[in-house]
């Protein structure tokens, strides 16, 4: 094998490793801790705006040694436009259910209520209205979780 081929091979190897990192890893915008479920960390992994609708995704990671049960009532989730002193609750469909998931049941419009095994994680998503005043950033509030502050609202 020529020296040049070796160089290209090394380059490709590095690219492969980086690609694998991107593939198996996941982008995290901000992480907050759950206040009562010990060891549960909540990653804000995605925020997208489409048709004036903000879709946020979270990953709840159980870093504890034991299974943790986490309940999040969708009715208590909201985003805040602090500059204009407004808050917006999750969107509800015509059946009165929050457009969010996964929901364990339809209690109070739906709620996330699952046991997360030690070392495992679960995803969560919620759709909110985009704030009318187009703030540059928002705060996202989930019950029992420290607020996600200064989250950029980029289209």
């Amino acid at each position: 094998m020529s020296f040049r081929s070796k160089k290209i091979l090394v380059f490709c190897g590095v690219s492969l490793l980086l690609s694998a990192g991107l593939f198996f890893g996941q982008q995290v915008i901000q992480t907050q801790s759950h206040n009562t479920a010990d060891g549960v960390e909540v990653d804000l992994t995605s925020l997208e705006i489409q048709n004036n609708i903000v879709t946020v995704k979270f990953k709840l990671r159980n870093t504890a040694a034991e299974k943790q049960h986490v309940m999040i009532q969708f009715k208590d989730c909201y985003i805040m436009d602090e500059i204009n002193q407004k808050k917006y609750y999750g969107l509800k469909d015509t059946d009165g259910l929050y457009i969010a998931g996964p929901a364990a049941d339809n209690n109070n419009g739906g709620r996330f209520w699952f046991g997360i095994e030690a070392g495992k994680s679960m995803g969560l998503w919620i759709k909110f209205p985009q704030p009318t005043d187009n703030p540059a950033s928002i705060t996202i509030s989930l019950p029992g979780v420290s607020p996600f502050e200064s989250v950029k609202l980029a289209k």
């Binding site: 980086l18 690609s19 593939f23 009562t36 805040m80 917006y88 969560l124 998503w125 759709k127």
Partner: protein, 225 residues
């Protein structure tokens, strides 16, 4: 050369531009990986966005905006907002020797710690305790806090009453300025020497410095939400 071809092939298959990668760069999602990652990365139902658009229309021009109330505003700016049932808050309550009932929390702060003799400016070394009080008020999202100043029996009654009120107001001002609490939820009272918690004198009529020290205090009554 063969190695090179293999390397290029591998990068194509698993690289960021690969359609199978699905996560970030590619738009497709590998079915094999989707099933393995479904719990971590839940699939949003295809009709969710359509439902959301309808829901948004139903909300009207203001999109269901609600004014941020004090209870919400009180947690803003707290980088590590905590709930009242967190370990951190329970630890702080212990440190402050707070007395808790179903509806209230009472924290008594010694006057000698908060203020210099005959003064009502907050001492710098008292700020740690006041910061903790602010954290408790926020954690409970209290709608109502009563701050009462008390003095010992030395000096004129009117003077003591006035001093105790000024001290209560100093505590309130500190919490507004430094703990970002709304002044509207806090009321102040000055009780002077009228509500002692310990005798100012001993049974033989002699001075009781320890008792007087206990009486020089600021009581903070935090109503739970």
């Amino acid at each position: 050369m063969k190695s090179l071809v293999w390397a290029v092939f591998l990068v194509f298959c698993f690289g960021p531009l690969c359609p199978l990668s699905g996560g970030r760069a590619g738009s497709g999602v590998s079915i094999a990986f989707q099933s393995g990652r479904s719990a971590e990365d839940p699939v949003i139902p295809a009709d969710a966005q359509e439902k959301a658009i309808l829901a948004l229309k139903a909300l009207g021009a203001d999109r269901g905006a609600k004014a941020i109330s004090f209870n919400t505003a009180s947690i803003l700016g707290v980088s590590k907002g905590v709930g009242f049932d967190s370990k951190q808050v329970q630890k702080t309550l212990k440190e402050l020797a707070a007395k808790e009932t179903k509806t209230t929390i009472q924290i008594d702060l010694p006057g000698d710690v908060l203020f210099d003799f005959d003064k009502w400016d907050i001492r710098p070394d008292a700020e740690g305790a006041l910061k903790k009080v602010g954290e408790i008020i926020k954690a409970y999202r209290s709608p109502n806090v009563l701050i009462s100043g008390h003095s010992d029996s030395k000096g004129q009654e009117d003077y003591n009453q006035n001093l105790s009120l000024k001290r209560a107001e100093s505590v309130k001002d500190w919490l507004v300025k430094n703990a970002a609490l709304d002044a509207g939820i806090m009321k102040t009272e000055g009780w002077g020497e009228t509500k002692p918690v310990a005798p100012n004198t001993n049974p033989d009529g002699s001075d009781n410095p320890e008792g007087r020290q206990k009486n020089r205090r600021v009581e903070i009554l935090i109503k739970k939400q």
